[in-house]
């Protein structure tokens, strides 16, 4: 812009000296050049405005416009996941390389529509809204790169969240068609409902070579620790229902069971618990005679009485989350959202994000076999611990469960932490809710150490221009045996510090007392304190009523035998 302005100012100065015939010709030519320049300038300065216009046209795009890819019957099938895969064996770390931000670059494949030779799609649903949300969130995040050559992690746009809607073999074939598949190296798949009848495997059945799996429902036998990521099963109620956060504390019910497909053996067990403990337990089931049009997912019943789900979860201290055909249950998300402490009964289940989240502070895990002892176990938990767990549960939901975005970005952060472990998020960052982060005190010198005397101390003396006073301080302090170094900070620009070893006599200085008694001085200092407290957002200073003295301070004891006899004798 600056350049073009310069040209236009020079132009008119020359023009009057020309013949009119040529003038029009040149003016036209010149304005073309000018326009070109301006356009260039625009292009350079606001490139994104132009591209976002292109984006806008993309926005209009429909999933049906995705290019069609026909899978030949004979196209290769990846190997089943290798259970021994770990980051150092199956992950190509060179693709991530060293970067000062310690952040991995993630590439998302453009959407394609895979069909078999007969034109039947590999998935009955195609791209789901949730997977679309997940991919958009990643593409909006700092992890995203559109440069496939710089990517460290690749995410296929093939939606495998729900295995039920997939044709296993064809989906696997589609994966190998991805241009950078390379045995699944550095590829990440998201799956929340794994397995199918009759066995319901606990990991996605689609063969996937070395691809990492972010799975919701791993058991200890399918989860490759340090390689896969255990994720929650997203509950759409997270987005549909707003449950206000409630203060931790006792609730109307002690234990609530709200799942509808509980095995009859377990339901019988729960009924027995209910008989023994009465009102403290509420056992809900699905409603048998709901009027048409009422979303059955949002109602629960007990003996004909109808309750709103998930709102009812907020009325209980503990909420049972039992395994179903699968280990991962969407109910866990609802329970956390309600700030109800989940009681998880799903043997061998790998809890969501267990690599970084400390579930012991937010949940109770009980072996399925001990369902009958649940009440006794929960009763033994101190009230204050229950409250902490309620708060912690809600925080986990807000930070890590509440949206597909939260789930996706948490997964990427976990993988990022593995690749740059020295820059990994800390336990406190992952687990402390904001209220704790604000109020907790974590000293940078946390090791209980009593340092030896040998290194001594450094005295730092701030001075302005009261040289007499300064020299008096220096003389006194240099008598101290453990003084290692004395540092004088000369805080006066108008005067250079005194040189040499001039001898000063101590004058009668009363200035110090005068200073602190000065009324304006005190007012100023009060203002400082208020200003600092407002910047800190809280008052970090603490009041104590004690003072440290030597053990024998002012004791009726021979002064000679005291280590610090002169203290307090001023």
């Amino acid at each position: 812009m600056y350049a073009s302005g310069k040209y236009s100012s020079r132009g008119p100065a020359l023009i009057p000296r020309m013949k009119t015939k040529h003038r029009i010709y040149y003016i036209t030519l010149f304005s073309v050049v000018l326009l070109g320049l301006i356009a260039t300038g625009m292009f350079q300065f606001w490139p994104h405005s132009i591209e976002s216009a292109a984006d806008w046209t993309l926005d209009k795009r429909s999933v049906h416009d995705a290019p069609l890819v026909r899978l030949p019957v004979s196209s290769p099938i990846p190997e089943r996941g290798d259970l021994s895969c770990r980051m150092h064996t199956c992950f190509d770390v060179y693709r991530c390389g060293y970067n000062p931000k310690n952040r991995i670059k993630v590439y998302i494949y453009p959407l394609q529509k895979f069909v078999d030779e007969l034109g039947v799609p590999i998935s009955s649903t195609g791209l789901s809204r949730e997977y679309n949300d997940l991919l958009s969130a990643i593409s909006d995040s700092n992890f995203y790169t559109d440069d496939v050559t710089r990517a460290c992690l690749f995410i296929p746009s093939i939606d495998v969240l729900n295995q039920n809607s997939l044709r296993i073999r064809e989906t696997a074939q589609a994966l190998t068609m991805l241009p950078r598949w390379d045995k699944g190296m550095n590829h990440l798949l998201f799956n929340m409902l794994p397995g199918g009848p009759p066995d319901y495997n606990t990991a996605l059945d689609v063969p996937r070579d070395r691809a990492l799996l972010a799975g919701g429902g791993f058991s200890t036998w399918t989860y490759r620790q340090g390689y896969d990521v255990s994720i929650p099963v997203y509950s759409p109620l997270s987005a549909d229902v707003e449950l206000p956060e409630r203060q931790p504390g006792p609730r109307h019910y002690f234990i609530l069971s709200s799942q509808t497909a509980i095995h009859r053996e377990y339901r019988a067990e729960l009924e027995r618990l209910k008989e023994e403990n009465g009102e403290a337990l509420l056992l809900l089931d699905k409603c048998s005679n709901l009027s048409q049009g009422v979303a059955s997912a949002r109602k629960r019943c007990y003996k004909g009485q109808v309750y709103d789900y998930p709102q009812i979860l907020q009325e209980s201290s503990f909420c049972v989350v039992l395994r179903g055909a699968r280990l991962g249950q969407a109910a866990l998300s609802d329970v956390l959202q309600a700030g109800c402490v989940p009681v998880i009964l799903a043997d061998s289940y790998i809890l969501p994000f267990s690599e970084v989240l400390d579930w012991k502070r937010a949940s109770v895990v009980i072996p399925e076999e001990k369902l009958s002892e649940m009440y006794t176990i929960l009763k033994s938990i101190p009230h204050r611990q229950v409250e902490e767990m309620q708060r912690q549960a809600r925080w986990f939901w807000e930070a890590y469960f509440s949206s597909m975005k939260a789930i996706g970005l948490t997964t990427l952060q976990i993988i990022n932490d593995r690749i740059y472990p020295y820059a990994a998020r800390t336990y406190e960052q992952w687990n402390n809710p904001p209220v704790v982060k604000w109020s907790s005190v974590n000293s940078p010198l946390f090791l209980p150490l009593i340092p030896p005397r040998a290194p001594g101390f450094t005295a730092v003396v701030l001075t302005y221009d009261r040289v007499e006073s300064l020299f008096r301080v220096i003389t006194e302090i240099s008598k101290v045996p453990s003084l290692a170094k004395l540092l004088v900070v000369w805080n006066n620009q108008n005067k250079s510090p005194p040189e040499g070893e001039k001898k000063f006599k101590c004058p009668e200085c009363t200035a110090i007392d005068g200073l602190s008694l000065d009324q304006t001085h005190m007012v100023e200092r009060s203002e400082c304190i208020n200003k600092f407290a407002s910047v800190f957002g809280t008052m970090p200073l603490k009041v104590v009523e004690h003072r440290a003295d030597p053990v024998l301070y002012k004791d009726d004891f021979p002064e000679k035998l005291k280590s610090f006899p002169n203290i307090g004798s001023l």
Binding site: Q44, R129, R326
Partner: protein, 740 residues
């Protein structure tokens, strides 16, 4: 036509410029800068993942129909049984290879097989076994046991080693309680031998758990095996050396940035990384030295670099480097783990791990990112850049954490073994297990017993971390040993004075007197509840029982003849609120090393320092009652009971072992000393010449059990802010303390 020419030139120049801009060969500096800024802010110029406008299918996570179908065909119990029978051997997990029912009745008890005649046991393994036998988990009755430990030495399974035990397979199979290794724990330090060093132990371990050094992530069975550190024969059985960090220096950089000194393997497994180290060595602050001189015939394999490397190697002293480096490289050796790991940890030299696939020691509970840098062998060349990029605040914290972890879990065989057992116990009783915070912050998992409470705020250690405060009141526990005969007895005065404290919630009188309980009306009327408890067996240790009636975090422990004013109590309690993990009290005592007798000495003289505060008048956290009762061995507690002495010394040992800090003495009225040592019932106890000698003996006995002297000296006394200052007494809040 000069002007025309000029115009033509100008025009063509302009056109060229435009062309250049379009081709992108020249960019306006402003524009290129702004683009750069955007990328730094995380802005991306485009967003190829489109926001699809058409309605998409919803993901429905409810597997209700699946589950209903599934439930029809399967019984949960049956399903569990199937898992148990399928997942064996390499796929063992607690769910499939461990019998939880053995632990239900008697809790977590560990049985050690009796040692068989003629079986050699290495010193290290002997240390492991005696640690277990001396621990509170031990049982000599296999019928009570939850976990079984072999008396056959399985530590060294390298066939070429002299410690190798032969025919282990048959010996193990013949054990009557073996039961295919179910609920057995096998310790191992070395497995496999040259050249491939496999992780197989050379006998069928069945369903037994492994506590093994150098275990790999591929072979470790998650939450079943335990990765333990490699330790040497010289590793002390108990106690152990402190960490080398004596004080924090800021900035935290040391003479060297990164060091290593060790063998280089010319061939075979584990040689790659060490062979490449010289690329990173710069002989200045990154000093990585290797030698080829090891083994019998190194000359045969020696390569071109050997002589140069060997010469450089001899120039540096390992110890000097270890203590003067910020980071210490810990590359894999033949096996994944190496001694260097523990050496670096103790030396407060932050370990930089280069051992791909090593399941780090106790990785189930320790967050190693807080104390080490986990490098990748494949990225060796990036290591110097990586460690240089670590901020000094982080280095300071990493370094302190090395010291915490070393002292909490690694400094002795005892700690390593107990940590292993506690990890397994936490799995067995999962709903009452430690959170990661308890394992990874001071004082560590061995001192934070989850059976006491699952709530972190019930412990004295986590208030600051959680941003909470202890309960603002205390419970007084008065230890009564003499019968109530007159209304002027000190105990009654004490009761009244303590009850007047604004912080007093309740008073418990522990009746450890042989005479029957006095009638209720004999106790003075107070504003706080007075609860009288009849002491269990009337023994000394009962004063430290974790009574359920103690509902406050703070306990004010009192002897019956203690003389205290309400002001003194109030002041001590406000001090305790600032130091809830320490003992805060009045009369103090000190220990010293008597070099003539080569033993610890005890002194009650007024000196300039102290290391103990008597629990006849002290405030501390109620958790220490639990710890005293459940952590300390019966041998020490019964010694205290038999002597009816030393309980206060033992409590001070315990608290200082936990906190690594001295107790806190607060100021007291001077008359206190006289009463303490003078008249009344207590006199008999203190006047007894044996009493003092007993206390010396106790000190030495306790120190030997702790493996070291945990007491720490202090020269500090805490006084009220205006204590004995030359200001009007009316301005002082705790003026009674100064008045005689």
């Amino acid at each position: 036509m000069q002007a025309k020419k000029r115009y033509l030139i100008l025009l063509s120049a302009g056109a060229c410029l435009v062309l250049l801009f379009y081709l992108g060969g020249v960019q306006l500096p402003a524009a290129s800068r702004s683009r750069h800024d955007r990328s730094r802010n995380g802005y991306r110029p485009d967003q190829p993942w489109p926001h699809f406008s058409d309605p998409l299918h919803l993901f429905l996570p409810w597997d209700q129909t699946d589950t209903e179908e599934y439930n029809l065909h399967i019984s949960p119990r049956h399903k569990r049984d199937v898992n148990t029978s399928v997942y064996k051997g390499k796929r063992c997990r607690m769910d499939s290879c461990f019998d939880f029912s053995l632990c239900q009745k008697n809790g977590f008890k560990v049985y050690v097989y009796p040692q068989q005649k003629g079986e050699k046991i290495s010193e290290s393994y002997q240390n492991i076994l005696s640690t277990i036998e001396g621990s509170r988990f031990y049982t000599s009755d296999p019928g009570q046991a939850c976990l079984f430990v072999l008396s056959l030495d399985t530590l060294d399974r390298d066939q070429l080693s002299p410690q190798y035990v032969h025919n282990l397979k048959t010996k193990v199979q013949n054990l009557p309680l073996w039961n295919d290794g179910r609920n057995h724990l096998i310790f191992n330090l070395y497995s496999g031998t040259w050249p491939d060093y496999t992780e197989d132990l050379g006998f069928d371990i069945g369903q037994a758990m492994l506590a093994k050094a150098s275990i790999s992530t591929e072979n470790v069975r998650p939450n079943f095996d335990v990765s333990i550190p490699l330790f040497s024969k010289e590793h002390p059985r108990t106690g152990g050396e402190r960490g080398y960090l004596k004080y924090n220096s800021i900035p935290p950089f040391r003479k060297y940035m990164l060091v290593f000194k060790g063998k280089r393997y010319l061939t075979g497994i584990g040689s790659d990384t060490r062979n490449a180290l010289h690329h990173v060595h710069n002989a200045e602050d990154v000093v990585l030295l290797t030698t080829c001189k090891h083994g019998k015939d190194w000359q045969k394999h020696k390569d071109a670099r050997c002589d140069k490397d060997n010469a450089e190697y001899d120039k540096y002293d390992y110890k000097e480097m270890l203590h003067n480096s910020t980071f210490c490289l810990v590359p894999r050796g033949r096996r994944l783990g190496s001694f260097r790991f523990l050496e670096a940890l103790q030396a407060a030299c932050v370990p930089v791990m280069l051992s791909n696939g090593w399941e780090l020691p106790f990785s189930e509970i320790i967050d190693w990112n807080t104390a080490a840098v986990i490098g990748d062998e494949r990225l060796l060349l990036q290591i110097p850049t990586t460690v240089r990029s670590i901020h000094q605040d982080k280095i300071l914290s990493l370094r302190q954490q090395t010291q915490f972890l070393w002292e909490a879990y690694f400094s002795s065989v005892e700690k390593i073994v107990l940590t292993t057992l506690e990890i397994i116990q936490d799995r067995v009783f999962e709903h009452g297990s430690r959170s990661s915070l308890m394992w990874n912050s001071h004082p560590g998992g061995l001192f934070a017993l989850p059976q006491y409470s699952g709530y972190l705020g019930d412990f004295p250690f986590y208030y600051a971390t959680l941003g909470i405060k202890p309960y603002p009141k205390f419970t007084a526990v008065i230890h009564a040993v003499s019968p109530l005969v007159s209304q002027s007895q000190p105990i009654l005065k004490l009761l009244v004075a303590v009850a007047k404290s604004q912080y007093c919630a309740q008073i418990i009188v522990l009746w450890n007197c042989d005479k029957p309980l006095p009638a209720k009306h004999r106790w003075p009327a107070t504003s706080v509840p007075v609860i009288v408890i009849e002491g269990e067996n009337k023994v000394m240790s009962s004063r430290f029982l974790p009574y359920e009636t103690i509902v406050t975090d703070a306990v004010l422990s009192l002897d019956e003849d203690t003389v205290l004013s309400t002001t003194e109590v109030d002041f001590a309690f406000t001090v305790w609120q600032s130091f809830p993990e320490r003992i805060v009290g009045y009369p103090a005592r000190s220990h010293f090393w008597d070099s003539n007798k080569e033993r610890w000495g005890y002194t009650s003289k007024w000196t300039n320092d102290y290391s103990m505060v008597l629990t006849g008048a002290a405030i501390y956290h109620r958790y220490y009652h639990y710890l005293y009762t459940n952590y300390l061995p019966t041998s020490l507690k019964s010694m205290v009971d038999q002597l009816a002495n030393c309980e206060d010394i033992l409590m001070n040992f315990l608290v200082s072992a936990v906190t690594k800090l001295p107790p806190i003495k607060v100021t007291q009225k001077k008359q206190y000393k006289e009463t303490m040592m003078g008249q009344s019932s207590r006199a008999s106890r203190w006047a007894d010449p044996d009493h003092f000698a007993q206390r010396q003996t106790c000190m030495n006995k306790f120190a030997s059990w702790f493996g070291a002297m945990p007491l720490v000296h202090s020269q500090m006394r805490l006084d009220p802010v205006l204590f004995k200052d030359q200001v009007s007494i009316l301005r002082k809040k705790y003026r009674d303390i100064e008045r005689l």
